[in-house]
């Protein structure tokens, strides 16, 4: 029977079919007209229960004479009727029940007593309890994160002392995925960023006849700030989530347990190649981003602002110093560490199957972006006091 048929059948059943009788607020009698299936349950819910709930009686009599058997729908119907009179602590009596129904009721008695509820209702919201739960959860999270920092540092230290303990093949594969595969998207985004910055800034600088300084603005903004940030955000989205998903999938299929039992350090085996690959590749990717952004600015400068290419490039080089470039690269290194560490951490924390893997991938991206912005703020403060 499909949903439309069920709906049609429920609509055919009227409140009168339940032969409900009422003696003021003392007694209500309800008689089921037949087997309690889904349409009858729906009709009960729509046409009888609201009336009973509005004026719950002291006693509810349920006549089961016409009911041949009781299954899940029937138990639910009885439970709903019991709930309807609960407001006045009304009593429920079931009469004329056949043998099968009596046996089922006996087994399900504890549920209908109201001590054990069939449906789990969420406990009432308590702000202090909720706040406490969040604090405890985050403290636990912080402990795990700190422990993972140590674990990664130990693994990197071991690689420094014993370089052959690094899985070189995995590291190179990771470098290709993080870096090489990201060049097109990073290049495109940076080109567009350069175009936008150049165009928007030119609207203001034109008023002062300072068109040429568009080149300086694009270069400084991208190289020291936006280049590292945008590159890191793209890497977080592409690679951070990928690390979390790969390691998380290994977690739920017991591959990490298998590595542990074989005597491998999962952090050294899985996290270290990814961290090292990210630290090598992300600064290079940032350099690419800066180059494409300056190229974007050049397009605006030449085709909209009527600057010559030579003048634009010359102004760019004059504005930029080696310090700015190195400062941007240093940020890129720190961001790479944050992204790879967070992605691997979320992967190792996965619980609960495919849904957990998805949640970990999302969390890896969000947490990485948060850390990127946080650390960029710290860099800004450091620089301002330098």
């Amino acid at each position: 029977m499909d949903a439309m048929e069920n709906l049609h059948m429920a609509q055919q059943i009227s409140a009168e079919d339940f032969q409900m009788t009422r003696k003021g607020d003392d007694l209500v009698r309800v008689r089921f007209p037949g087997a309690i299936d889904m349409p009858l349950l729906a009709a009960l819910s729509q046409k009888v229960l609201p009336d009973i709930s509005k004026r719950p009686p002291h006693e509810l009599l349920i006549d089961m004479a016409q009911v041949p058997y009781l299954d899940d729908f029937g138990l639910t119907a009885l439970f709903e009727l019991k709930q309807a009179v609960a407001a006045r602590r009304g009593r429920v009596r079931i009469v004329n029940a056949g043998r099968q129904i009596r046996e089922v009721l006996q087994n399900a008695q504890s549920r209908l007593d109201g001590e054990c509820r069939l449906d789990r209702q969420a406990p009432p919201f308590n702000l202090f309890e909720r706040f406490g739960e969040i604090v405890l959860r985050e403290v636990n999270n912080l402990r795990y994160m700190t422990s993972f920092v140590g674990s990664v540092c130990l693994a990197l230290g071991k690689i420094v002392l014993h370089p052959r303990s690094l899985r070189a093949g995995d590291t190179i594969t990771a470098m290709e995925k993080i870096g090489v595969d990201a060049v097109p998207i990073v290049g495109l985004i940076s080109l567009l960023m350069g175009l936008i910055i150049a165009f928007m800034s030119s609207l203001q600088l034109r008023q002062f006849g300072a068109d040429l300084y568009v080149a300086s603005l694009v270069a400084l903004a991208m190289v020291s700030e936006l280049g590292p940030i945008m590159t890191a955000i793209v890497v977080a989205g592409r690679s951070g989530s990928s690390f979390a998903a790969e390691i998380g999938s290994m977690r739920i299929s017991e591959e990490i347990d298998a590595l542990f039992v074989m005597g491998f350090d999962p952090t050294l085996f899985l996290a270290a190649p990814r961290v090292i690959a990210a630290v090598i590749v992300v600064p290079l990717l940032t350099l690419f981003a800066n180059f494409f952004a300056i190229a974007g600015g050049l397009i605006v400068g030449v085709f909209i602002l009527d600057l010559t290419a030579g003048a634009y490039v010359s102004q760019t080089l004059e504005a930029l110093s080696l310090f700015e470039v190195l400062w941007g690269m240093l940020k890129a290194v720190i961001f790479a560490l944050l992204i790879s560490w967070t992605g691997c951490l979320r992967g190792f924390q996965v619980r609960g199957g495919a849904a957990g893997v998805g949640a970990a991938a999302t969390s890896a991206v969000v947490t990485s972006i948060f850390f990127i912005i946080l650390f960029d703020s710290i860099f800004a403060v450091i620089r301002s006091y330098w």
């Binding site: 299929s253 591959e255 347990d257 298998a258 590595l259 039992v261 074989m262 491998f264």
Partner: protein, 252 residues
């Protein structure tokens, strides 16, 4: 088979997940060279025991001594010494998806750091031949059937010819023919290499096929409810649930 010395001793093991106590004060021994099956209903704690024995989970209380090493006490030094002596087949085989069958089997051999690449390649090939997988050695796990994954997982677990082999539901997901193949492999390993084997399963056919002894875990009792040979538990156990389990009779 003549039982020899105790190779695993579990003393008053208590296991908890959060506030729930799953196992309480269980004690049992595993003798060298025997095939011990840990059986029980779903959720009784069989896999929990296994995870404790292979060091994945630290117990809330009790001791576990494997081949003379306490794997629970201290900072894990005992466990590190024990891991090279054991092999584990996980329920889903747990083959590393990014590596070929040969690379998976080679992992424990590479870990030992004692063999050249060429030697490892030869040993892996010979091991895969024993499990009828030599022609699949360059396949990724995703290209294998369930039975082949189990055999590959077994080959990896046996890469170092461990003294003790742990198997978590080795027949799970397999048809009866493949399941019987795995049972035959287990018996062959035990008889040929005298490997001590601990198997977690509730497959009755396998239990009767391979077990020298069975430990039955009860969910409500949170502990051992019966110990004996499969035949003894089927006919002589004082617990009706145990007799019912081994006789595959259903309550009405």
């Amino acid at each position: 088979m003549q039982a020899k010395a105790r190779i695993i001793q579990v003393e008053k093991l208590t296991a908890r997940y959060g506030a729930d106590t799953v196992l309480e004060n269980i004690s049992f021994d595993v003798y060298e060279g025997e095939v011990l099956v840990i059986a029980g209903g779903s959720g009784s704690g069989k896999t929990t025991i296994l995870k404790h024995l292979i060091g994945l989970v630290r117990p809330h209380g009790g001791r576990i001594i494997i081949d003379g090493q306490d794997i629970v006490a201290g900072d894990g030094g005992g466990l590190q010494k024990t891991l090279p002596k054991i092999g584990v087949l996980f329920q889903g085989s747990a083959l590393l998806g990014s590596m070929t069958v040969a690379q998976n089997v080679a992992l424990p051999l590479r870990r030992s750091g004692l063999l050249s690449d060429d030697m490892i390649r030869k040993i892996v090939y010979l091991k895969l031949c024993k499990f009828d997988l030599s022609q699949y050695q360059d396949y990724l796990p995703s290209a294998l059937s369930g039975g082949m994954k189990k055999r590959a997982g077994l080959a990896r677990a046996l890469a170092l010819n461990p003294r003790i082999l742990f198997l978590d539901e080795p027949s799970a997901g397999l048809d009866p023919i493949r399941s019987a193949e795995i049972d035959a492999i287990i018996k062959d390993i035990n008889q040929r290499l005298n490997t001590t084997i601990v198997v977690v399963t509730h497959e009755l056919d396998s239990i009767f096929n391979i077990a020298h002894r069975v430990i039955m875990i009860g969910k409500e009792q949170k502990g051992i409810i019966a110990v004996g040979t499969p035949g003894q538990l089927k006919t002589d156990s004082a617990d009706p649930f145990v007799r019912q389990f081994f006789s595959r009779k259903e309550t009405v």
